[in-house]
Amino acid sequence: MAEKTLKLPSEVYAEIKDKPLIGKRRRVQLPQWAVAWLVLLPALVFLALFMFYPIINCFFMAFIRDFQYVDSGGTFALSNFFRAFSDPCLQPFEGAIHCTKRLGKYFMAFGFNNFQTVLSNGLFLQSILNTAILVIVEVPLTIIISLLIATFLNNIKALKGLYQTIFFLPYVTNSIALGLVFSILFSNTSGGIMNYIITRLGGQPVNFLGDIAGLPYKMADGTIVELPAASKFNQGIVIVVNSVWNGLAFKILVFMAGLATIDKQYTDAARIDGAKSFTIWRRITLPLLSPQILYITITSFIGAFKMYTGVISVYGQGAYYFGGINKTDWMPVVGWIYLQMSNESQYKGINLGVPAAGSLVLLAIIMLITAVQFGVSKKRVHY
């Protein structure tokens, strides 16, 4: 093999000495901000089309009576809004101010009545309560579990890659499919491993999935017992387990990335200072991980408030089945909103103002809680 001989730097300099350098380019230089906008443009177009426009529409819908796409308003909500002024056929909201004086023969067809409808709807209030319970149970649970798993994954050496892959699998799996797996695990038919274990340990089968009472359940020894009535608690367990598992992968990933940025010298120093592993974790690792914990807490709360697939996928009985005889046992807020937009609602998908108002209420709740979290975190997060 020929040996590679290095040139002397002086040779290189001698070679390039007389080469002409590229001339100053007299091109029009866009200012930085213009370049930035240009790069952002495609994203902005899509955002405008699929985010901002629907959000603005939603605002208008929520404040107007009998919003209709197909009618004279076309698809732009604002035109519907103007229709409120100009359409003599449009009925005013109950109790709305009669504006005949100022607007001639026209009525005020916009106001807060949609919100009134939403907030006085028992099912809506129940769905808020349902969501709140799921959020309060699920979010702390999933954060604690993912933190623990991330810590252990960070500490083990052997088979680390394998474990990481296992815990990452839910992330690349479709969440409906994942929910179906859980609905089978918890079912009262074949494949219902949970009930198999419970009955094998001497317990009675549990109606996890909100089925009607009295269904036959075949015990391991062949005898048939009747399935007890569904309780909300038992169904809640399945929903929580499913959504915790569903969200684990991403959180573990974020925490592992955070842990990797913590200099090993801090834990070394803490050991020298006589701290035991748990003390090191509590007093050094956790505070240094607090930016990631804040991020995960906020996104988890938001995600959990928007919970929907996590519930229906567990039952696997369609988009509007949320358990129980009334199909509403664990109806979440988003579920309620979808229901109102569907043909199954009392409005038959015609009055979109009501679900729009529901979404705005949900938005308000999420914003409020996020603001509170940011406020609390000011003192406790160390960047």
């Binding site: 020298i272 240094l288 160390h382």
Partner: protein, 483 residues
């Protein structure tokens, strides 16, 4: 406490299985209360040595002793040491005060009757160990007996076959097993006696514990304050505040107690790290290049401060540095390292005056020692063919050697000195004059001579000068000192 390093070795296995021996069979002892400077160029294994003493790295081989205790396998949290990291490693989310108090938060006392409890635990442990030993000895007796029986059968067999070697082997086995059995049998009564003793001790310890419990209950009634003090398992906030303030005062950062580390300058952070290491009164203090990030003035000041604190507290200290002047000024003993191997262990002055090899000679002293080529011929040391040393007879073997003279060890002579020098430049540096040049006929061996400025007139404008060495060293070509 005395720290003893015995045959200490650390080999890192890097990616692709490449091995780096960072520390190679190191031996040295730090006497109680002394300060040892670990000196060597960057990458020679100083930090690795320190981390092994701290317990953060597990040695590949060798032992570390703190006094009579072998701490080689003790985790760092149980070693009672203080360590100042090269880049401080202050906890960024804690204030200076909390940083200094962190080691104190981890201090746990045994509580109201800790001594008595410990005595019970010790006695129980003793019993367990003794019982185990007894079992082992009994097992050993049985094993020996079985081995003897087996060997006897075999021996008969061999005797029939008239196999002398086999018979001899069997007899050997029988003899060995007999002696094993004997020692085990002799051990047994001693162990059993010890067990009886230990059981008695346990009984006593349990009684003492009961008494202590009763006494403590009484004390609770009589003097609740004293009982509370006696029963405490942690340092109180007031105690910790007091210590933190005192430590901060010692290193002169008491006005910054409520700041976060990132609000301090490098030097201040360094001092916080020292305060944190001192807070729990460590038995051994380890400092990893603690002055490397300070400016020149602060470095001098902190160096003296460390020396003072070390003297006052009497803590056995290891001070790692790559700066020979720093090591010289602060250490009681210097350990010079190169590529993981100890080159010399001596008092600073001795390392400077009696370097063990060329590496040590070159590493210590600024400006560096001058080295030029000499030769030994017929037992005489020659420079450029002329006799250099008239006093001493060198070994019989003719060979090339290196002659080394410190810059300040030259005396200027009018003529006929043993070192003829070609002058390139004369630098005036105030009190002294630097003569820069080379030994005649050895242009590749640069030379720097420091002479007093009174001799200015005599060297200015001259192209050739002649010197005699006040003191010189002779080294083999590969670096060992020629004695």
């Amino acid at each position: 406490m005395e720290v003893r390093i015995e045959n200490l070795t650390k080999t890192f296995i890097g990616r692709k299985g490449v091995e780096t021996t960072a520390v190679n069979h190191m031996n040295f002892t730090i006497p109680d209360g002394k300060l040892v400077g670990l000196l060597g160029p960057s990458g020679c294994g100083k930090s690795t040595t320190l981390y092994m003493i701290a317990g953060l790295h597990k040695p590949t081989d060798g032992h570390i002793w703190f006094g009579d205790e072998d701490v080689t396998n003790l985790p760092p949290e149980n070693r009672g040491i203080g360590l100042v990291f090269q880049n401080y490693a202050l906890y960024p989310h804690l204030s200076v005060r909390q940083n200094i108090q962190f080691p104190l938060d981890n201090v746990r006392f045994a509580g109201a009757f800790g001594e008595e409890k410990n005595a019970v635990a010790d006695a129980k442990h003793d019993i367990k160990v003794t019982k185990h030993d007894i079992d082992e000895s009994k097992k050993a007796v049985k094993q020996a007996e079985a081995a003897i029986a087996k060997a006897k059968v075999k021996k008969e067999h061999f005797e029939k076959a008239e196999d002398a070697v086999g018979v001899e082997e069997c007899e050997e086995i029988i003899k060995r097993s007999e002696s094993l059995k004997k020692s085990a049998v002799e051990r047994l009564p001693k162990l059993e006696a010890h067990l009886v003793d230990a059981e008695k001790k346990l009984e006593e310890a349990v009684q003492n514990l009961e008494k202590a419990k009763v006494a403590f209950e009484e004390l609770k009634v009589k003097d609740p304050e004293a009982a509370k003090e006696k029963g405490k398992t942690k340092l109180s906030k007031a105690d910790k505040d007091a210590i933190a303030y005192e430590m901060a005062r010692i290193v002169d950062i008491d006005q910054y107690l409520d700041r976060k580390p990132k609000e301090l300058s490098g030097g201040q952070q360094q001092r916080v790290a020292i305060a944190r290491a001192l807070a729990k009164k460590p038995k051994v203090l380890l400092l990893d290049e603690p002055l490397s990030n300070l400016d020149a003035r602060l470095r001098l000041q902190t160096r003296e401060e460390i020396k003072r604190i070390q003297r006052e507290t009497g803590i056995t200290t290891v001070f790692v540095t790559h700066d020979q002047e720093e090591a010289m000024s602060i250490s009681d003993t210097i350990v010079v390292m190169k590529l993981g191997v100890v080159q010399q262990i001596d008092e600073p002055q001795k390392v400077y005056e009696e370097p063990a090899n060329l590496f040590v000679a070159k590493f210590l002293g600024s400006p560096a020692i001058n080295v030029f080529d000499g030769e030994i011929k017929g037992g005489k040391l020659l420079l450029n063919g002329k006799v250099f040393d008239t006093d001493k007879v060198y070994g019989k073997v003719d060979r090339k050697v290196k002659i080394a003279v410190r810059p300040e060890s030259f005396t200027l002579v009018k003529k006929g000195g043993s070192i003829p020098v070609t002058v390139k430049q004369v630098e005036n540096i105030g009190r002294d004059i630097n003569v820069v040049g080379h030994v005649e006929d050895q242009p590749e061996n640069h030379l720097k001579v420091i002479i007093p400025s009174e001799l200015r007139e005599e060297v200015l404008g001259k192209e050739k000068l002649s010197f005699n060495p006040k003191r010189f060293y002779v080294f083999e070509e590969e670096g060992d000192r020629v004695k």
